[in-house]
């Protein structure tokens, strides 16, 4: 298969190399070989655009860098101020929370409540909501079972706290109009009321 193909090809070559056509081809080659220098069309551009470009780039770079730097600096200033502001606000929040805790102090709340006449109940009792039943033995919370919230004042020395000067006056039963006798009676009554109270406290 390969040998006939070769023949065909070589035939063509031969045909191409036929002397009858040489002149045309050579002419073209010659024509091609006779290259002439194309006259330079030098358009001399001035250095200005390039210099302008370079200096523009340079300027833009410098300005950009400056602006970048300035903005960074500005950001740093802002950051510092804001950090300070955050610290101040944080401190403020903590101070407020401290004040809140002081206000929540159970002692303070209890003192205020007691001044308003409130008493911590002595006996717990519950009301069951489902059937309305009272659990426990409810008892009224009275002044007697209020808790002493402040320490007792220290005992004064005898010099500063002398025993009360008691004068016993024998009232005249025949003199109903005398104010003295009535006052004395009233005092005695007070004493009788106070007596069981102190016992109860014990």
């Amino acid at each position: 298969m390969s040998s006939p193909a070769f023949q065909i090809r070589s035939g063509r070559i031969r045909a191409a190399g036929a002397p009858g056509r040489v002149s045309g081809l050579a002419g073209a080659a010659l024509h091609r070989a006779r290259l002439t220098v194309v006259p330079r069309t030098r358009t001399r551009t001035g250095p200005l655009p390039f210099v302008t470009l370079v200096s523009f780039v340079l300027l833009a770079g410098v300005v950009g860098l400056l602006m970048f730097n300035t903005s960074m600096q500005q950001a740093a200033f802002t950051a510092t101020t804001m950090e300070q502001q955050a610290a101040t606000l944080n401190a403020r929040e903590q101070t407020l929370r401290m004040e809140l805790d002081a206000l929540r102090d159970p002692q303070r709340v209890a003192l205020k409540a007691q001044r308003m006449g409130m008493v911590i109940p002595a006996t717990p009792a519950f009301l069951r909501l489902t059937d309305g039943e009272v659990l426990g033995t409810p008892a009224a919370a009275t002044r007697e079972n209020s808790l002493r919230l402040l320490p007792q004042a220290p005992q004064k020395p005898a010099v500063l706290d002398p025993a009360p000067n008691v004068v016993t006056v024998i009232g005249e039963p025949a003199d109903p109009g005398a104010g003295d006798g009535q006052r004395h009676h009233g005092r005695d009554k007070n004493k009788q009321q106070q007596q069981p109270r102190t016992d109860g406290n014990r």
């Binding site: 903590q94 101070t95 805790d101 159970p106 109940p121 069951r128 808790l147």
Partner: protein, 600 residues
């Protein structure tokens, strides 16, 4: 002039300036001198101590800021702060600048900060100093505002510096547990015992600065601060406050030396309140009247528990199968024990009591007679299991471990006295936990003051996570003991009707023990009175133990400790919403008649 023709250069001799050689030499000399000075300086800089100079160069333009770690808070069981840290500042003055206007400035500061006028005046006028404290531990925002206001008013020389404030918002509430801080270090209580945990680690930051502002993209290294951890306690702030107020009233009314109380959650062993009186204001530790007021007496006081201990003896006896709540005891008027005679607190002829009656009337003789049924060493074994003689390790430094006599000195006489609470010493926490064992159906839960877990500076791990449980007596024994203890608060047969809470079933036991005086080491006729109990008796929620040292009003455990117990228990029950169980109270017989047949 004669030589002039022979030497052409001689013409220049008239003015030396013209001589290039000389000029050169002179020039070189000067240059050499300058260079050698440079060289010497170079050697000095590079050869002698290059690092110091390098460091100085680096320090110029760098700022080092300390980043203080925030100290952890101490919180109660609901997250309310018992101790917290606030960003604070100190106000400092430069006396050289403030001296001139000192009186005006002192007046200005005294009006705005909580400082004394005269102290401030003195500080502002300090001689030859450029630094003086004006106020310390001021909340930061307040300090800055005051300094800014002062500057606006034309006063110079004030500045602020970082100075954290430790605040105790509840004042004296739980102060004996929390402790307090000194100027720079923790001095007492949890603050000291858990200092490593609370303090954290300070950090630092260094960066380049220019005109007071940090340079962006400049060198900066940050070592972040590690904040301290919060310490979560099991304390209930409000209950603790109430207990402290009740104790103060009790102590004042009884004219006693001191009083302390423990409130335990029966099931978990968490300490809801551990109160001491007298106490102090943690915000002002110098307000304490005595040094002993600074510590927790409940943990550091050793004392003989007295009759409260009978609860342990008799429940152990029932558990050992040597008695029941209906065991009959014939109680003579006195009992010989070795070379001593044991009496009861009340004089009586021979009494016929059940074991419940022995408890209800707190009879020493009855308890001793019953306890003589123990085998050798048995009682000590039980008491050890109840936790006596060992530290409770709840996280309080300086806890006493109490005294439980060694078996080598444990004679039958000793045992007789120990049976009713003499010859052994405890701290309040041990005793509360021991009584709580009965409340908890015979299982002892180790008490804890810290929620979760925390490690003390000594390396001891404490907290609810490490709590242990151990069965000490059987459920049956604990139940019988509870029924007997209910009779104590019975108005007819018991000694402490004032400890009763209307509507509730309360189980308790009084204690009145003689105190050992420090002078002679003998009983000095003063007393420790106490009351321990729990409620509701058939489903206990809380165990409360109140101890009053040396009451001078002649009161005993029932009359002094009982009412305090009732108040504290009532408050706890209503605060935690525990309604009465509504079951019938214990009706155990307390006496028997000689001819009667035992009914079991």
């Amino acid at each position: 002039m004669r030589r002039m023709p022979s030497r052409p250069s001689a013409r220049a001799r008239g003015s030396l300036r013209g001589s290039p050689h000389l000029r050169l030499r002179f020039g070189f000399l000067v240059i050499a001198m300058v260079l050698s000075v440079f060289g010497a300086r170079l050697v000095q800089l590079q050869g002698v101590d290059p690092h110091a100079y390098a460091a100085m160069a680096a320090a110029e333009g760098t700022d080092i800021v300390e980043l203080p770690a925030e100290r952890g808070d101490i919180l109660d069981r609901n997250g309310k702060p018992l101790a917290d840290s606030v960003d604070g500042a100190m106000v400092v003055a430069n006396p050289e600048l403030t001296r001139e206007k000192a009186p005006e400035l002192a007046k200005f500061l005294a009006g705005r900060l909580d400082v004394d006028y005269f102290e401030t005046l003195k500080a502002l006028r300090l001689k030859d100093k450029q630094f003086a404290y004006v106020a310390r531990r001021v909340p930061a925002s307040k300090a800055q505002a005051v300094v800014a206001a002062a500057e606006e008013a034309g006063f110079d020389g004030l500045d602020t510096r970082h100075d954290p404030v430790r605040d105790y918002p509840a004042g004296d509430v739980a102060a004996n547990l929390i402790g307090f801080m000194g100027t720079d270090e923790a001095l007492a209580g949890f603050e000291r015992n858990f200092n490593g945990l609370l303090a954290g680690q300070d950090g630092s930051e260094r960066y380049s600065v220019g005109v007071g502002n940090r340079i962006p993209l400049g060198q900066a290294t940050i070592e972040p601060a590690v904040d301290g951890q919060d310490l979560n306690t099991t304390i209930d702030l409000d209950l603790q406050w109430y207990v402290q107020r009740v104790l103060r009233q009790t102590r004042e009314d009884a004219r006693a030396d001191s009083a302390f109380a423990v409130v335990l959650d029966t099931k978990t062993g968490e300490v809801l309140a551990l109160a001491d009186d007298p106490t102090y204001d943690a915000r002002d530790p110098r307000s304490a009247k005595a040094k002993g007021d600074l510590v927790s007496r409940a943990m550091t006081d050793v004392y003989e528990p007295g009759s409260v201990e009978k609860v342990l003896t008799l429940s152990a006896l029932i558990d050992a199968g040597k008695a029941t709540d209906k065991t009959r005891v014939v109680v003579p008027s006195s009992l010989v024990s070795g070379d001593r005679v044991i009496h009861d607190w009340f004089t009586h002829d021979t009494l016929y009591m059940t074991l419940a009656g022995v408890v209800a009337q707190s009879s020493n003789i009855g308890t001793v007679l019953a306890s003589r049924n123990f085998e050798t060493g048995q009682l000590r074994e039980y008491l050890t299991k109840f936790g006596l003689g060992q530290k409770t390790n709840v996280g309080i430094a300086g806890e006493t471990q109490g005294i439980l006599p060694d078996p080598s000195i444990w004679t039958s006489m000793t045992q007789d006295r120990i049976a009713f609470g003499q010859s052994l010493s405890v701290n309040a926490m041990q005793m509360a936990a021991a009584v709580n064992t009965i409340a908890n159906g015979g299982v002892r839960v180790s008490p804890s003051l810290i929620r979760g877990t925390a490690v003390t500076d000594e390396g001891l791990q404490v907290g609810t996570d490490t709590a242990t449980t151990e069965r000490v007596v059987s459920k049956r024994a604990a139940h019988q003991m509870t029924l007997m203890m209910e009779r104590v608060v019975d108005p007819d047969v018991g000694v402490a009707p004032s400890a009763q809470i209307p509507g509730y079933r309360v189980a308790g036991k009084t204690g009145t023990a003689q105190r050992v005086g420090p002078a002679c080491g003998c009983y000095n006729n003063t007393f420790t009175v106490s009351f321990a109990g729990f409620a509701p008796a058939d489903a206990p929620r809380f165990t409360v133990y109140v101890v009053v040292q040396n009451p001078r009003n002649g009161g005993g455990g029932g009359s002094v400790g009982g009412p305090a117990f009732a108040k504290i228990m009532s408050y706890a029950l209503s605060r935690y919403g525990v309604p009465p169980t509504g079951s019938a109270p214990s009706r155990l017989p307390t006496t028997w008649r000689p001819g009667q047949v035992a009914s079991r």
